[in-house]
C-alpha cells in the first residue's frame, strides 16, 4: 500500500516536471502564435496538386531601335500625338528609353527595349480646367473600344487565354477653393487587363491599361505583355504547405518586430512577377497593430502584405529579402541646429 502510494507520488512529480519542461520548450512558439493570428479564411492554398512553372522573359520580347520607332509611330498616330514627340531625341536609363513632349511635361513616352514595354500618355495639359471631360464612356462601351484599340495596334491575340479583364475605373479631380467651396470633376476612364497562367493570377508587371478621354479618345496606354519561356517545377523543388506557413510566420515577425498583433486575412496563390521573371508564390495580406509611440501604447492598425516563395530555392527577390544597394540609410538622431537651414536655389532666386 505504502509502496503504491510512493509510486503514485513519483509518477505525479515526473508528470508535472515533464509538463513544465514541454511548456517551456514551446514557449516561443506560443508567443509567435499569440502575435500572428490566421483568420478563419486565411488558409494556405492547395498548390501541391497543381503543376507549377517558373517563367523567364524571352529574347523575343526585345525591341531594336527600328522596332521601337515603328511601334511608337503606330501608337502615337492612333492617339493623334505623332507630331508632339521627337523620336530621334531620347534619354536612356538602363533598358528604358524616355522621349519628351517639350510642350507638355505631363505627356510621357517610355519603352523598355528588353521586355518590349510601351507606356505612352498624351498628357493632362488640356484637361486641367474646372469641368468634367465631355462624353466620357461608361463601363461597357469603354471595354469595347479599349479592345478595339488593342486589336488595331495588334497588341493582343484574342486566343491568348492568359488575358483577363481586370478593372474599369478612372481618374477624377476635386477642387477646394479659397471660398471654401469644393467640387468633383470626372476626367478619364481607365480599362485594365490582367494576366493569368493556368487560372493563377500574375501578381506584378504584366498588363494592358488604356485611359480614355472624350468620346473614347485614346489618351494613354500601357503595354506590358512580355513573351515568357516556361520551365516546369518538380514537386521536390517546392516547400510543403506546413513549411510555407512556418516561414510566413517567421517573416511576418522579423519584418514587424514591434507589432503587438498581426492578423493574416488572406493567403493567395499567385505567380509573382518582377524584373522579367515569374515564380509561384503566396501573397499574404494582413493587418498589423503597432503602439502609437514608445510612451503611448494605444494600438494603431495598418495594412501589410508579404510575398512568400513556394520554391525552396527562389531566384527572385521577395518582399522580406534585401536588394543589393550601393548605399544604406543613415541614423539621424539629431540635427545641427547651429547652422541655419539652407534654402533651395529657387528660393534664393526669389529673395
Amino acid at each position: 500500500m505504502k509502496n503504491s502510494y510512493s509510486t503514485r507520488i513519483l509518477y505525479l512529480i515526473i508528470s508535472v516536471s515533464v509538463f513544465f519542461s514541454c511548456k517551456q520548450r514551446h514557449q516561443p512558439t506560443q508567443n509567435q502564435n499569440e502575435i500572428v493570428v490566421f483568420s478563419p479564411g486565411a488558409v494556405i492554398p492547395s498548390y501541391q496538386d497543381k503543376l507549377l512553372n517558373t517563367y523567364q522573359v524571352s529574347e523575343k520580347s526585345a525591341m531594336n531601335e527600328s522596332m521601337v520607332i515603328n511601334y511608337l509611330k503606330q501608337v502615337l498616330s492612333l492617339m493623334g500625338e505623332e507630331s508632339n514627340f521627337e523620336l530621334t531625341n531620347k534619354t536612356q536609363e538602363g533598358d528604358r528609353w524616355f522621349f519628351l513632349n517639350k510642350n507638355d511635361p505631363s505627356a510621357s513616352c517610355i519603352v523598355n527595349v528588353k521586355t518590349g514595354d510601351i507606356q505612352v500618355n498624351s498628357g493632362t495639359k488640356n484637361y486641367m480646367t474646372s469641368a468634367s471631360t465631355q462624353d466620357l464612356l461608361k463601363k461597357d462601351e469603354a471595354v469595347k473600344i479599349a479592345q478595339r484599340y488593342l486589336q488595331e495596334l495588334k497588341y493582343i491575340d484574342l486566343n491568348d487565354k492568359s488575358l483577363v479583364e481586370g478593372h474599369v475605373g478612372g481618374i477624377n479631380m476635386g477642387v477646394h477653393d479659397e471660398k471654401n467651396e469644393s467640387q468633383v470633376y470626372e476626367k478619364f476612364t481607365t480599362v485594365r487587363y490582367d494576366r493569368k497562367f493556368d487560372s493563377i493570377p500574375v501578381l506584378g508587371h504584366s498588363r494592358f491599361i488604356l485611359q480614355l478621354a472624350e468620346k473614347g479618345k485614346l489618351h494613354s496606354i500601357i503595354r506590358q505583355w512580355p513573351i515568357y519561356n516556361e520551365t516546369k517545377i518538380s514537386k521536390d523543388e517546392e516547400v510543403v504547405p506546413d513549411e510555407a506557413k512556418r516561414a510566413i510566420v517567421q517573416h511576418l515577425m522579423n519584418e514587424n518586430k514591434n507589432a503587438k498583433k498581426i492578423t493574416v486575412n488572406q493567403v493567395n496563390l499567385v505567380y509573382y512577377e518582377s524584373k522579367g521573371m515569374i515564380e509561384p508564390a503566396l501573397h499574404v495580406i494582413c493587418q498589423i497593430q503597432l503602439p502609437k509611440s514608445k510612451s503611448d501604447t494605444t494600438l494603431m492598425t495598418f495594412p501589410y502584405d508579404l510575398v512568400e516563395p513556394i520554391m525552396k530555392r527562389p531566384r527572385m527577390i521577395y518582399t522580406f529579402m534585401a536588394e543589393p544597394h550601393r548605399d544604406q540609410p543613415a541614423q539621424s538622431d539629431k540635427v545641427d541646429t547651429a547652422q541655419a537651414p539652407k534654402a533651395g536655389d529657387d528660393e534664393r532666386k526669389q529673395q
Binding site: I110, V175, H176, H205, N254, Q328
Partner: protein, 228 residues
C-alpha cells in the same frame, strides 16, 4: 542687351530640358522592414541625393527645415494611415499637425514635392468629404508645398520597389510629378490599389525641372487628383 539675356536664358532652358533632372532629393525609411529600405532606395537611386535616413519624427516636424523641408523632393516609405505615417522606431507623425512648431510645415523653407509610399495617407473625396482640411489648416503640412503624392487605398509592398523605380525614372527624366506617380502606379500596381495626389492648383503641371512659384503659406486652396 535685354534681348541677348533673354536669348541666353532661353538657350539655357532648352538645353536643361534635354537633360535628366537632379536637384535636392531626400529619402526617409519608415517602419515596414527591409522592403521600406528598398522602396526608398529605388526612388533616390535615380539622383545624386542629399539625404537618405532612417526616419525620425523630428525630420518631419520640429527640425523639418533641416530634413524634409530642406530638400526639393522628399520621399518616404513605411506604414501609413489617413494623414499619418510611422517612423523607423514605429513612432507616428500626424501630418495634420506636422507644422505645429516654430519651423512650420513644408514649403516655407525649400520643399516642393513629397511622396508617401504608404497605405491610405492621402484620402480623396471618396473617403472623406472634408479631404483638404488636414493638409492646409493652421499647423498642417502645406506651407508653400506644391504637391504631395501617395495612396487613397492600400499600397501593397509586393510591387513597391517597381513603382518607386518607375516613378524615380520618370521624375528624373523631367516628366510632371503627379502625372508620373499615376503612370507609375498604372504600370506596376495591383487592381485594388489607387493613387491620390493633393496640390496647390497653380502647381498642378509642375515637374522637378520646372515648377510654379511657391504658393503663400496661408494659401488654403487645394486640388486633388485620384484614381478609382
Amino acid at each position: 542687351m535685354k534681348l541677348k539675356i533673354t536669348l541666353v536664358l532661353l538657350l539655357v532652358m532648352i538645353s536643361n530640358a534635354d537633360k535628366a533632372i537632379d536637384r535636392q532629393e531626400g529619402g526617409y525609411v519608415g517602419s515596414g522592414g527591409q522592403i521600406a529600405v528598398d522602396c526608398v532606395w529605388n526612388f533616390i537611386k535615380h539622383f545624386n541625393y542629399e539625404q537618405y535616413y532612417w526616419s525620425k519624427d523630428f525630420q518631419f516636424t520640429t527640425s523639418n527645415n533641416y530634413r524634409v523641408d530642406q530638400m526639393d523632393f522628399s520621399f518616404y516609405c513605411g506604414h501609413g494611415n489617413q494623414y499619418y505615417i510611422t517612423m523607423s522606431d514605429d513612432a507616428g507623425v500626424d501630418l495634420s499637425s506636422t507644422g505645429n512648431n516654430s519651423q512650420k510645415g513644408w514649403g516655407n523653407n525649400n520643399c516642393e514635392f513629397v511622396a508617401f509610399e504608404s497605405c491610405d495617407v492621402i484620402p480623396s473625396p471618396i473617403e472623406l468629404s472634408n479631404w483638404w482640411n488636414n493638409w492646409v489648416k493652421d499647423g498642417a503640412a502645406f506651407d508653400g508645398l506644391h504637391q504631395a503624392v501617395g495612396w487613397r487605398t492600400v499600397a501593397y509592398f509586393a510591387h513597391c520597389r517597381e513603382i518607386c523605380d518607375n516613378f524615380g525614372g520618370r521624375v528624373h527624366a523631367g516628366y510632371a510629378i503627379w502625372q508620373s506617380w499615376f503612370d507609375a502606379i498604372n504600370a506596376e500596381s495591383d487592381l485594388d490599389e489607387m493613387g491620390c495626389a493633393v496640390m496647390n492648383p497653380n502647381c498642378n503641371m509642375d515637374s522637378h525641372a520646372s515648377f510654379a512659384p511657391d504658393p503663400s503659406i496661408n494659401d488654403q486652396s487645394l486640388q486633388v487628383w485620384y484614381q478609382y
